[in-house]
Structure formats: structure tokens, C-alpha cells
């Protein structure tokens, strides 16, 4: 489904590369995790996949179903099925979650050649998902993410994930700053959406979330490159022994 090959990327107008030849394959229905020390490029990678304009891809390719998406706009990537649950979701003053998601879902259905949902159909779906994700219904009447607590923002990301049903969902440190209850909600969201067609890429610093979501593949990202790829047992190993050995190897 997603094939990343020898990807080099840096911050716009900066010389130093953050991603230095990253290669990774994710098949349909697979759950992958990227772990690694801070500053290794995890968040950069998640954002580069969605085309955040702060980053520039210098070389390499990102293929989604054999189509290179490196030159596509973020919205074009989203319409092709990519989704990013943000580490720090932006606050959108004056825009209500309902209105925002309606616009997003309309765009998606339009791209797929489907008619937009009626306001009634949309409301029904929206209310169901709000309840499922456990968001305070009063909260979604406010401006999107404005004045939301950290946990509420993350739940709101899960609401959007459930509404938009992407083919590849990237979770950028969604677990950071969450209490156990919120963590469980995120995990339940992901687990309930797992299907043979839908893949996940979970970016995390800690193994904690992986107690609830069992990944198929674990990658270690250090200094802009994947340095090790293995099964779920790798996460536990890292939890025990830390990233030191990788850092030493990278420095050496």
C-alpha cells in the first residue's frame, strides 16, 4: 500500500537533512509502529507523509498504491486515503467540529464520486461517533480544538479518524500526554477500525500504547533512518534497554 524509498527530507530553507534515506513498506491491513529517540525524525516523517509545507523532500519517493505522491498537496493525499492524527492539533477559531467534518467528508465523497451526505444523514453519523469516542457533546459545539484539553484534542482526532475512515492512518505520538482512560479510547478506536484494507502507522516514543494495540511490525528510527525492523517483541526490548545502543551506533 505505502512504499517509501530512500527518502531524504529537510526543513524548508535549512541545509541539514532530518530524514536521511528512510525506506519502509506497509502492506494493506498492517499495523506498523515507528519508535525512536527524540530528534530522530519520527514526527518529521509523519508530517512529510502528509505533505506539511514546512518540509521539503530532497530525494526518494513516497508511493501510495504505486502512485508517487511527493508532489501532491496535503488535501490530495488526504483524498487518496491518508490521515494524520496530529501530535498538536491546530486550534481553528470560529469553525465548529461539525462544520469542519462535514466539509472534509463532502470533499472525500466528492473525490470518490459519491453524493454528499444530507445534513440529516451526516448528523446521525456524527452523533454516533461523538458518543463512541466519548467526547462531551457540548465540546463539539465550540470552535474546533479551541480551549480543548490535551486529552480532548486527542479524542477529537480519533473522532475525525472514525468519521473519515482513511486507508492509511498515521498517529503522531497520539499517546503523549494521555491518561490511561484516554489511551484506551485511542486504542479501541484503532482496534475497531482495523481491517484487511486499512493500515496504520503509529509513531510513538514509548511502548505504552502498544499494550493496547498489537503492531505487526516495529521499526526503530534513529537519525533519519530505519535502523531495525522486527515483530512486536522489538518494542518490549526497546522498552527494557532503551535506544542507547542505536544512538551509539549512529554516532560511531
Amino acid at each position: 500500500m505505502l512504499q517509501v524509498k530512500d527518502l531524504h527530507a529537510s526543513v524548508v530553507d535549512a541545509d541539514e537533512e532530518i530524514l536521511k534515506g528512510l525506506t519502509l513498506d506497509i502492506g494493506p491491513g498492517e499495523v506498523h509502529t515507528i519508535m525512536g529517540p527524540n530528534g530522530g525524525g519520527k514526527s518529521t516523517f509523519a508530517n512529510v507523509l502528509l505533505g506539511r509545507p514546512d518540509y521539503v523532500v530532497n530525494s526518494g519517493s513516497i508511493k501510495l498504491d504505486d502512485e508517487d505522491i511527493v508532489d501532491l498537496l496535503p488535501e490530495q493525499r488526504a483524498l487518496r486515503g491518508l490521515f494524520l492524527a496530529f501530535q498538536y492539533p491546530a486550534e481553528i477559531p470560529g469553525v465548529r467540529p461539525w462544520q469542519f467534518l462535514k466539509a472534509a467528508l463532502d470533499a472525500r465523497r466528492d473525490y470518490a464520486g459519491e453524493k454528499p451526505l444530507s445534513v440529516r444523514e451526516f448528523s446521525k453519523l456524527f452523533d454516533e461517533k461523538v458518543e463512541a469516542v466519548g467526547i462531551d457533546p457540548d465540546l463539539v459545539k465550540r470552535s474546533l480544538n479551541e480551549g480543548f484539553s490535551g486529552g480532548e484534542k486527542k479524542r477529537n482526532e480519533m473522532l475525525q479518524l472514525e468519521m473519515l475512515e482513511p486507508r492509511l492512518a498515521i498517529l503522531d505520538e497520539t499517546d503523549s500526554g494521555l491518561d490511561v482512560d484516554a489511551l484506551r479510547i485511542v486504542a479501541e478506536g484503532v482496534n475497531s477500525l482495523r481491517s484487511p484494507e486499512r493500515s496504520f502507522l503509529i509513531v510513538t516514543h514509548y511502548q505504552r500504547l502498544l499494550n493496547y494495540i498489537k503492531p505487526d511490525v516495529v521499526h526503530i528510527l534513529v537519525d533519519g533512518q530505519i535502523v531495525e525492523t522486527a515483530g512486536p517483541e522489538l518494542a518490549l526490548e526497546v522498552e527494557k534497554s532503551g535506544y542507547e545502543k542505536y544512538l551509539k551506533a549512529a554516532a560511531g
Binding site: F83, P93, Q99, A107, Q160
Partner: protein, 441 residues
Amino acid sequence: MTLATARGEKYAVDFKALTESRPVSDWMSELRQRGWDHFDSIGFPTERRGNELWKYTNLAALDSAVFAFQRDEPGEVSAEVINECAPWSDDWTTLVFVDGRYSEMLSHVSADAGVEVKNISDAADDATLRENLAQHAAVDESAFSGLNTAFLADGGYVKIADNYEATSPVQLLYFTSPGASRASFPRTLVVAGNNSRSKVIETYVSLGAESGFTAPVAEYVLGSGTGIDHFRVLVENEESFHIGTTRVYQHDNSNFTSTSFALGPKIGRNDLHVLLDAPGAECTLNGLYLTTGDQHMDNHISTTHAKPHGTSHQFYKGVLSGNSRAVFSGKVLVKKDAQKTQAYQKDLNLVLSHGAEIDTKPSLEIYADDVQCAHGATAGHTDPEALFYMQSRGIDQKTAQAMLMRGFAAEIVDSIGIPALQDFVQGVTENTIPLLQAAAD
């Protein structure tokens, strides 16, 4: 003869013609003459050096423009056009003025026992009118108060009885008709009795594309414990000059809430001053301005706290694009006696193009020692983080930007609270967003 004299003579000719064609009662005639004398002695404030009040707004183009003053019958406006171009509800009382002249035929009155609504020139015998007219916007306060008073004729006069809660809003709707470059000097006076509640809308709309000049003066007097929700809606064309003066006088524990919406003029000025002249008075002055092309909108907002326990809010928001320019010059003066004053000022701007410019200057002048005041101003492009967030959900950049602009305006628009008016302002904003976007970088 210099050119300046020639222009002065232009208004002089119109003034003389008016006194002949539209005679008014003696006291009004006297006011007119005082107004003319003041304007005639100072002319337009075109001086560029040391002219603090007009520092960011150059009136040279206004000074050199020539307009036809409407002495006789106003230009024609149909009821259909009104419905299209102005806020309207059959539940309201709306007095319609075309080119400064009252049109009984186009006006619509909804009976409301405690609310008197009249054309000023038909109310010369009204003692309250006489006591208050030109008392709060002094004739010699500025060139524009002078000029407006010199041409005193028609205008909206609203009187609300003591302890009366108005059942529906009153709108004073001032049109400039198409077909000529017209000048008009609308006058508004609202006197709200003690403990009354009312909603008053002043609307200024230019219907044609010609350059026009509108210099309204409005005075509001709030009795003890009185509440007025005031709205000032400006939808002028981009060749027009609009220099508006609003003066508000508040007695104790009164509450004046004002929302200004400004769209269009080549040179626009919303000069609003509120005097909190008794304890416990409160005012909230909100505004939204949208500018593009070569438009220029100057919001000159000031509040004077003269007595203790007053509260004031100034909250203006602007969206600027193209080569337009906007000014927020907000002032709060807290006098020595005005202890326990609370005053807040905020001006937030979305600046969408490099050619656009905002001059924002919130300022506090405080002579009391026990006060709570805060002010702030921002100017920036649509938040790139917010844009990326929305795009990452599949919303294209243009749509996302429009949603952000709509959201930015919503804080003011959604607070209007009169459905037909809110719908109108929302509609105009919605139609303007693509124009702002088209002129953005």
C-alpha cells in the same frame, strides 16, 4: 481665486440653495447657520503635518472631488432594490432615506406603543429633539459635524419612552441612489428614556457605482438604567467617501452595545465616541471591517470614562486584502473621578496580502489610580498550522482559507442576534470572501 476657495464655494452654493428650497424652523435654521460657519471657517482637515486625528487618513481626494447635492427630489429607488441591497424585516420599523431625503412611500412602520419614530424635519416642535440635537455631536466639534449640521433637513429621530421595552428593532436606512455622484448628510438622533430597552440599526448603502459622499452624524442618549443595542451597517461602493460621526451619551447604569460592520468605501471613517458620564455605565463597541482593492477604512473609536464603576469594551476585527488599508485608532480616556473603571481594547486583523496595511493603535490614557485596563492588537495571515490541519483532512486550501475567514468574522457576525440583520451581514460577508481571496497573495 484659489482652487480651495472654489471648492468651498461649491458647498456654499448648495448651502444657500438648501436654505431657500428647504426652509426649517428658526432654531434649526440657526443650527444650520452655525454648522455652516464652522465648516466654512476650517474646511476639510486635509493638513498632513501634525494632524494627529487624521494621521492615517488623507482626505485630499475628498477635498478635490465634486458632488451633486440633492436639493429637490431624491433619485429613484424601488422596493425590490431595497430588499436586495439592504437588511429588511417587516417586523421592524424602517425609515428609508434616499440621498438624504425621507421617503415615506418606501418606509415601513410597525406599531410599537412606546417608540416614536419620525423624520427629524417633521419633528421641529418636539421638545426632546430640540433639547438633544447637536448637544452630543457639537456643531463646532469637527468639519464634518459642522457640514452635516449645515445641511440639516431629514433624518431619523427615535424616542423611546421611560421603562419601555421595544418589541422590534428600528432601522434608519440611508441610501445613495445611482446615476450621479451625490453628497448627503444624514442625521440621526435616538433618545432612550430611563430603564428602556431598544435596538437601533443605522444602515448606509450606495446603490450605484458612482463616487458619492456621505457624512452622517448620529447621536444617542441613554437614560438611567437604559439599554440600547446599536448596529451600524456600511455597504458602500468602492468609489465612495463615507465619513461617519457617532456620539453616545450615557447616564448611570446604562448599557450601550454597538456592532459596526463596514464594507466598501474608497475612504471610510467610523468615528465613534462614547461618554460614560455617570456611575455604573457600560459600553461594548464591536466591529468588523473587510477591505480589498484600494479601499481605506478608518475606525476611530474612543470611550471616555468620566465617573466611577464604568466598564467599556472595544473589540474590532478586520480582514484586509489587495492594496487596501485599515486603521484602528482606539482610545480609552479614564478621568480622575472614574475610579473602579474596567476598560478593555482589542483589535485583531487578518492581513492576506503584502499590499495591504493595517495601522492599529489601541491606547489608554488614565488619570484615576484604581482601574483595570488591558489592550492588545494583532495582525497576521491565516494561520498556516490551521490551514495544513484542514488540508490534511481533504479540504482544499482555498476552501480551508475561506472557512478560516468565515470563522474569524463569525465572532462578530454571530453576536448580532437579530436574525434578519445577521443573515444580511452573513450574506454580504460570504459574498466578499471570494473577493478578498482573489486579491490575497
